[in-house]
Amino acid sequence: MPKLKATLLTGRTIDQGTERERGKFSEEYRRSVTICEIDPDDMKRLGVTENDNVRVSTDSGSVILRAVKSARAPHPDVIFVPYGPWASLIMNSETHGTGMPLLKGLPAEVEQAPEEKILSLRELLEKHYKREHE
């Protein structure tokens, strides 16, 4: 299966900004931040089309997101995921002595994941952040 080695960027989008106002657990919010913007040519190479699920992986983990064409392309080898709990799953916490983890410009890999589903926020929390109890 083809894999894309890419640079992962995260950031704000106006959708993420407005939809979060409907509540973090709303479906609208989930839809606005579980996307991965990929260059249209890269999508072809990966064999995915708009709205297909993809797996995005870094050295800190992986997450399933929905592929969308990045606007105003070309942006070869650059992928964009809006801030949010899904993007955080694959962020590295090393700050190199600055207090700031590398939240933009991480090396990442993208591959198609047609069988996988995008977790809901509750499922995500259940899976990755289960509370330990004494």
């Binding site: 106006i14 709303s26 105003r72 916490s93 700031m100 929390l125």
Partner: protein, 479 residues
């Protein structure tokens, strides 16, 4: 029905203060002047808020009285050896003042969200200084607007309209008309191109040269806009010059600009994917302007180089002042993250990442900053206010956060409140409670109370004050 004007908008760092809202029966029914995000905040804040405090018992969050929740919070903090108090950028300065007193009382580390947004900018400023201003200065005088690694169109939707390109100043006019006609031109051109492609079944279309500085700017003496970013954003599309930077290479580009400004020659053909010829042209525009401003965003602070990107940007702007007037400003995210820095600084001398565990302020991001403390798993309790670290911190740090007792003061249901041990929903500051907040350029403005909060909800300030008093009571009893 009442209409209230001159409301400040508690969303982004632009902190617009001209919002008009309509209130009917204590419910906001209409919002004017706000951007989409601001309007969504005013209209939706109440739809998914919580009103009752919660305490985790036997693994489940159950409703509790406010007194119980306050007592439990105080116990957690009073017991801790290295508690962390995080958030502060979405609350009032008044609440932050009490928060600092609380942090000092419990001997904790207090940190605000700039630690993961513009913390690197502050580190840069501490090495270089900063040549900055309030936003009106730019509105009146700036004829060159440079956005680097920031996308106001999405993150600060009214920024361009209120403070830069599309605003009328004493010495500078708005470029709105120019933009509209150009946008029209571009759309028409694109449409023609598409039709031509369909008809002629040609090779792939050649990209239209809108951004690389030629047709529209040649005779333009008015305001100019330059955008440097790793992606072509909507903001970039509106620019006179767009520099598409290879990811993580901003530092090289900034330093190259500094060298060009000094009239130096570069030994290379391109820097960070941008041809040196274009850099030289833009450098000339920078030197030639009457007053230039350099806005930078998280594109610089969060990518490789971090504070050194800012170091280079601040140095570039400082150097430019030998030729013309040049100013620089970070695009701050939350409506009061600047205020959090301001209050931290006047009380402790340091703007974020302040360790008060030894009874006096210590500061060293990388050592005393939230992400590092959590990564190394040093803290043994935490209080989070007006922030959602579980949604936004890298996974490992967020996982470590919930390995210890966690108090969350937040009106909303968020991943953090869902995982906390104590949840106290406060009155929404800027809607249900008043206070002070600082715009991104350090201009302080009042947060307003527009509607009454639910009966069970106190302001952040009052909640913190009560926790502080309770901690002091516990301490007195122990002695």
């Amino acid at each position: 029905m009442t209409v209230i004007s001159h409301i400040t908008c508690p969303v982004c760092g632009d902190f617009c203060d001209d919002i008009e809202v309509t209130v009917e029966d204590n419910v906001i029914t209409d919002v004017k002047n706000a951007c989409a995000v601001g309007a969504a905040r005013f209209l939706n804040y109440a739809t998914h808020r919580r009103t009752k405090p919660l305490i985790r018992k036997d693994g489940e969050l159950v409703e509790a009285s406010l007194d119980e929740a306050i007592r439990k919070s105080a116990e957690i903090l009073a017991d801790a050896t290295y508690p962390l108090l995080f958030g502060w950028s979405s609350t009032s300065c008044e609440a932050t003042r009490v928060g600092l007193e609380l942090a000092e009382e419990v001997g904790g580390v207090i940190d605000n969200t700039s630690t993961i947004c513009h913390g690197p900018s502050i580190l840069g400023i501490q090495d270089i200084g900063i040549s900055s201003c309030t936003l009106g200065q730019l509105r009146h005088r700036a004829d060159l607007i440079f956005y680097w690694g920031s996308n106001p169109w999405d993150a600060h939707p009214r920024h361009i309209e209120r403070y830069t390109m599309f605003t009328e100043g004493r010495f500078q006019r708005s470029t709105w008309r120019k933009y509209v006609s150009r946008l029209g031109g571009t759309v028409t051109e694109k449409r023609l191109q598409r039709t031509a492609n369909l008809l002629l079944d040609h090779h792939p279309p050649t990209p239209i040269e809108t951004g690389q500085g030629l047709p529209y700017t040649m005779f333009q003496k008015k305001r100019k806009m330059v955008v440097a970013d790793v992606r072509k954003t909507r903001t970039a599309e509106a620019a006179d010059y767009f520099l598409q930077v290879e990811p993580n290479r901003d530092y090289e580009l900034l330093q190259a600009f500094r060298m060009l400004i000094r009239d130096g020659e570069l030994d290379v053909e391109e820097v960070a994917g941008v041809p040196v010829e274009l850099l030289e042209e833009v450098a000339d525009v920078m030197i030639g302007c009457e007053l230039g401003v350099f806005f930078f965003g998280l594109g610089l602070t969060m990518s490789e180089g971090r504070h050194r990107n800012i170091d280079a940007a601040l140095s570039l702007v400082r150097d430019l002042n030998q030729y013309t007037k040049f100013l620089i400003m970070p695009m701050r995210g939350h409506f009061n993250v600047t205020g959090a820095n301001v209050v931290f600084t006047w009380q402790t001398g340091y703007p974020f990442a302040v360790d008060l565990s030894q009874g006096f302020p210590r500061y060293n991001p990388g050592e005393t900053s939230t992400i590092d403390i959590l990564r190394r798993r040093e803290s043994d309790a935490a209080l989070v206010i007006g922030s959602d670290p579980l949604a936004h911190f890298p996974k490992k740090t967020a996982q470590n956060l919930i390995k210890n007792p966690l108090i969350a003061i937040d009106p909303e249901l968020t991943p953090t409140t869902l995982m906390a041990d104590v949840v106290i929903p406060p009155a929404y500051v800027g809607i249900e409670a008043e206070g002070t907040a600082y715009r991104m350029d350090h201009v302080p403005l009042p947060l307003k109370k527009i509607v009454d909060p639910p009966e069970t909800c106190l302001s952040d300030e009052e909640i913190l004050r009560r926790i502080l008093n309770e901690v002091r009571r516990i301490r007195r009893k122990l002695n």
